[in-house]
Amino acid sequence: MKGFLLSVRTKMLFVAMAHFMWMMTFGGHSVFANTVALYTPYPEITVPPGESIDYSVDVINNSGSIKNVGVSLSGVPDGWEHSLKSGGWTIGKVAVMPGEKKTLSLKVDVPHQVEKGVYKFQVVAQGLTSLPLVVTVSETGTFKSEFTSTQPNVEGHSNATFSYNAKLRNMTSEPQFYALRSDAPRGWNVSFRANGKQVSSVNVEANQTLDVAVEVSPPKKIKAGNYKIPIQAVTRSTSADLELEAAVKGNYEIELTTPTGLLSTNVTAGGKKRLELLVKNNGSSTVNDIKLDKRAPVDWDVVFEPNEIKSLEPGENAKVYATIQASKKAIAGDYMATLEANNPDVSEKAAFRVSVKTPVVWGWLGIMLILGVFGGVFQLFKKYGRR
């Protein structure tokens, strides 16, 4: 595309030079200054890069006869597009009746990428006259975008979401449609938010800035350390990079469960039950000094063995035995006993459903009583029956 444009520009350059040569060699002497004149109201203007300028050029015939004038442009800077039209047509020659004028419209596109400065070119009525035009480009035009963040480094746990605020600046002179993407390592999740919505591309007006929030969530089981997340805003013609940094701290996560995962048990009122517990470190840091605690009903007791775990590496698990003693006064049915494993960093609970059973001693007593009475009746039978 660019190559094509270039080739068009070079062709135009050749054409313009050919005109110029022709004019120098043949047209120079035979010009009657007052026969045909070219007129435009603003021959000198100042524009920003990327602007398109519409000139209206009048061709005035001051002579007494019809003039058939070939009109062209010369000296147009390299890469500037232009067209000369009248009555809906692109024209090369214009015929003007005596004493009349014809209006042509000249359109010149100042390219985006242009140096600041004064540019001159002229409209030439071949062999007759020429109209010099001056365009001052107010600033240097660029084709650049900028993606920046004032705080590209964020620290957090691996289960946290890292939020960055970035600014995307469109420094070109036309609206740009940016695709947002990231080259985060595998397992990382990067999402962009603009104007309150999650987006994958944004539209930025020329010379405007848009706030883009970037949310990064690291993989669950990531090791502590600094991670770089390169993100990019890309259009067809321009792109901007930004490198964000996530400082992941190790997280603390423990789990309290039993080897089978069963969190219910039964116990006789006043009796004891020994349970095997498992404390797992599911986090990415070593957890130290885990204390085991209980939150049981009144008069219940839970003894842990051991009652403290000195240190637990990530991924390791430790076995703990808990002896639950139910209150003597506990009534039959289910109770909740909560066992806890905690240290200042993390705390985990396991709620046990404990079914309390009544001791069967009284049941046996009742059976003995019934048996005793039946024995008594049997004695009666023996003593008084069959006289």
Partner: protein, 364 residues
Amino acid sequence: MIFINVTLKILHPMKFINQAKMYMSGMSIPSLTLPNTKATTKAEKLSTKVPHPFWVIVNKEVVDHIRSWRLVILVAIITIACAGSLITGLMHFKDSISANDPEGSFFFLKLFSASGSGLPSFVVFISFLGPLLGIGLGFDAINSEQTRGTMARVLSQPIYRDQWINAKFTGGLLVISVLFTGLTLIFMSIGILKIGIPPTPEEFLRILIFTFVTICYVGFWLNLSILFSVKFKQAATSALCTIAVWLFFTVFYGIIVNFIANATAPGQFASPDQIIRYQQFITNLMRIVPSQLYSDATTTLLMPSVRSLGPLTSEQVVGTVPSPLPLGQSLLLVWAQLTGLILATVSCFALAYYSFMRREVRSR
């Protein structure tokens, strides 16, 4: 001699008793011997089916009971009452089911304890009318036979006295058992038909045990009335006495306990300990009444979420999860009540037995 028993069967008990007399006294009756051995073995086989005289009397008792207008009327009343409670129970069944009910899996049992439209539940009806049935079956067991003079006649046959009173008791209990088992099963089956969901095995077991408790409870009143029928010579006296006892327990005892409760109520500033002790005392007073034992037992059996029958301290309640008790635990909870009921029944019987065995039976 065996063959005679076979031929006579048990069509007429009195006749049979005459034969039984011969059987027991070892008299040989030479007639009706069959010629070939094959027939003999067949006859021997048949002879094993000859009932013991005890069962003959039981049989006769049962027949007497079933043919009496008294039982027909009592059973009709109980059946109508239970049908009423079943209909109201079914009508209000959906009200008694709530989403977060810990007894959610036992909703079939609710049919037995459901009440509505001012009509009490099945259990309440049984606890009220059951005693009447027991009393009706037993109040004239001994003394009416004595006044009619039939007892002396029967006992002059080779029938032991203990067999006589045991059979009286067994006959009555048999009628009660069949009646209540049948009633409960019919109640349950209509329930299944109407609700469309069968009871779970545990529910079925609970209902069976409930039936057993009901039989024990009615058996107590049966034994009490038999005891009175032994003690009093007039059937009317024993009937009045048993009814009086029943009325006392159902109506007046509650009033008396209420009176005692008011009199011994702890003051406004009593410690919780005192209040609990007082509550326990009043509950224990109430538990002297068989109907209280019965309602305690049936409530626990038919409502598995009942975890305690007495007052509870908050220490016992903290940390509890509302959940139904397993059947074994429910049984253990009401074991004392069950034991009490069974003991009361057996002791009444023992007393009746003792006084019958020691009394003079020949005179009218």
